[in-house]
């Protein structure tokens, strides 16, 4: 039996983006912003592709998002996913997104559901755990190493100040981070075949959001930097002590 892997991906502003808002601070200003696959989701996909190459698994990519996320989905297909599903909805609430993912997972019995450790827009790091709970499956995050041996996953997870090696039976939901795999770049052949791979669009189940965003705000700029001459470096310690009062 070929293993079935679901990889959940987000479409997020490139990490160099200077974030701004429009519409009275209620909407992200998308003008000039390049959208990329969430960097952690990219790790999840890269490991899935390696497992596919090794064991012949099939990979479905799933995104909860509006139609403007399709370039990111196509890129995942070009990197090596076999097919894709987009749930046509604005992904504003982790619980709502998890409901959509769980609904698709219930229909398809995946052996492995791989996600990023966190999305880089909301940084909740929550969707995998909620999906795990909804499906009655264990969830583990952040996963740094993953090997599959039959129906057992061998995992190294980061913990505060160190790491832990674990074993668990499939099916599992995992939140991935480096160094689980090297990010993959699509090649020409991948890009060509991605155009004809199936991308199914489905409507969301359940519509109520438990959390909504009323408005956004940008951080206040830091005050001017106070420069200290290198040959008076000791002054810094005095200033941290008496002026900033942090030491």
């Amino acid at each position: 039996m070929r293993m079935k892997i679901l990889v959940c991906v987000t479409s997020v502003p490139d990490t160099t983006t200077k974030i701004t808002f429009t519409d009275n601070n209620t909407k992200l200003n998308k003008a000039g912003v390049t959208f990329i696959t969430g960097p952690y989701d990219d790790y999840a996909l890269a490991r899935a592709v390696e497992l596919k190459e090794k064991t012949g698994a099939t990979i479905t990519v799933l995104n909860v998002g509006e139609s403007d996320t399709e370039p990111v989905i196509r890129k995942c297909l070009a990197i090596g996913a076999d097919d894709a599903i987009r749930v046509n909805a604005e992904p504003t609430d982790a619980y709502f997104v998890a409901e959509q993912i769980a609904a698709i997972a219930k229909e398809n019995n995946y052996d492995l559901i791989l996600m990023g450790r966190e999305s880089i827009d909301y940084n909740g790091g929550q969707v995998h755990g909620i999906v795990g709970e909804m499906l009655g499956m264990p969830s583990i995050s952040p996963v740094m190493l993953l090997d599959i041996d039959g129906d057992t996953a061998k995992i190294t997870r980061e913990i505060e100040g160190g790491k832990e090696s674990l074993e668990a039976k499939l099916p599992l939901v995992l939140g991935c981070q480096e160094p689980i795999a090297e990010w993959k770049i699509p090649n020409m052949r991948g890009i060509m075949t991605a155009r004809t791979k199936p991308l199914k669009v489905v409507e969301p189940t359940g519509t109520d959001k438990l959390t909504t965003v009323g408005s956004y705000e940008l951080p206040a700029p830091r005050g001017a930097v106070k420069m200290i001459k290198a040959d008076e470096a000791e002054m810094l310690i005095q200033l941290l002590h008496t002026e900033a009062k942090v030491i």
């Binding site: 755990g129 438990l210 959390t211």
Partner: protein, 320 residues
């Protein structure tokens, strides 16, 4: 009714970030006219458990089942959900940590709760339940309206400064039924540096980048950190090159920290690095390149060579 706070232990002591969470939860309890209950899981002595009272907990529930000695996000979530039910709590507060991340998600799933992660202020109750959280890796904030009956708030470090009293909280044993399905992950091996200051918990952090040239030069970073009782951190290339362990890597794809003081040594200040540290209260940058972008995000800067400046700073700290 009460506000329930999960207080996390590290080697038998309530973590500092959890003391902040207890104080935060007690404030929310005051605002909503209820009381604050802390739930503590794992082994700790009675004095430590009762110390939750100093930060505003009116009562402590303690689950000391040996099965829970190892931190297990799924099992801990089951315990906290049971505690929330017993106490009729519709607000649950946790300090953000890797354990808490796993727990909040499982809890939200169990309780169909509205969830705000990276909360940085007390809630605004004037019109519903609104909390401010940090998003886009610290590049922006969101005001979230939590509409579910049960609300879970995961607060960021340094959201609130606890005021301590000398109150002690009564401790009750709490022994809910545990689910076998929460114990299906077997832990084969744990590598943890003990005794060191945990980076996510640290008030002071000394961090270094590729400017240090090689792992053999980290002594000057560690000396300064030690003199300050600070934790050490690093930039991504440094952990990619295996100069330092991955758990020290801060930034967009590493830990996000918000200490009182962040000293960046030989780090250029790429936007992805800043993302992990820009909510630090005070930022110091030491770089020999006056054009290094990090200076634009710093409070104090020294243009100089780390190999000269760091030992001098260490000496000056020792002389304080």
């Amino acid at each position: 009714m009460s506000v329930l706070i999960f207080a996390e232990l590290d080697e038998g002591k309530i973590k500092k970030s959890s003391q902040e969470a207890i104080f935060y939860g007690a404030k929310v309890a005051q605002m909503t006219g209820t009381s604050a209950t802390a739930i503590i899981i794992g082994q700790a002595d009675d004095t430590e458990l009762a110390s939750a009272g100093r930060f505003g907990a009116a009562k402590v529930l303690h689950s000391s089942d040996p099965k829970l000695n190892e931190a297990n996000g799924m099992a801990y979530a089951t315990v906290v959900a049971a505690a929330a039910q017993q106490e009729g709590s519709n607000i649950i507060v946790l300090a953000k940590s890797s354990l808490a991340d796993a727990m909040t998600a499982r809890l939200a799933g169990k309780l169909r709760a509205g969830l705000a992660a990276n909360v940085i202020e007390l809630p605004d109750l004037s019109n519903g339940f609104r909390v401010k959280s940090s998003i886009y890796t610290g590049k922006a904030f969101a005001y979230n309206d939590l509409k579910a009956d049960i609300k879970i708030l995961a607060i960021k470090k340094n959201t609130i400064t606890p005021e301590e009293t000398d109150a002690t909280a009564p401790v009750e044993a709490f022994t809910p039924a545990l689910n076998d399905s929460d114990f299906v992950i077997s832990v084969k091996n744990t590598e943890k540096s003990s005794g060191d200051i945990l980076l996510p918990e640290a008030d002071l952090v000394v961090s270094a980048g590729r400017g240090l040239k090689g792992p053999e030069n980290w002594g000057i970073v560690e000396d300064l950190a030690q003199a300050l009782h600070a934790a050490t951190a690093c930039s991504k290339p440094v952990s990619d090159l295996d100069w330092r362990p991955h758990s020290e890597h801060v930034g967009q794809t590493g830990l996000k920290i918000s200490p009182n003081l962040y000293i960046a040594c030989g780090i250029s200040g790429a936007i992805q690095h800043l993302a992990g540290v820009n909510s630090s209260k005070v930022i110091v940058v030491i770089n020999r390149d006056p054009e290094a972008p990090f200076f634009k995000s710093a409070d104090y800067g020294i243009v100089g060579d780390v190999f000269d400046v760091l030992p001098r700073l260490t000496k000056a700290v020792k002389a304080l």
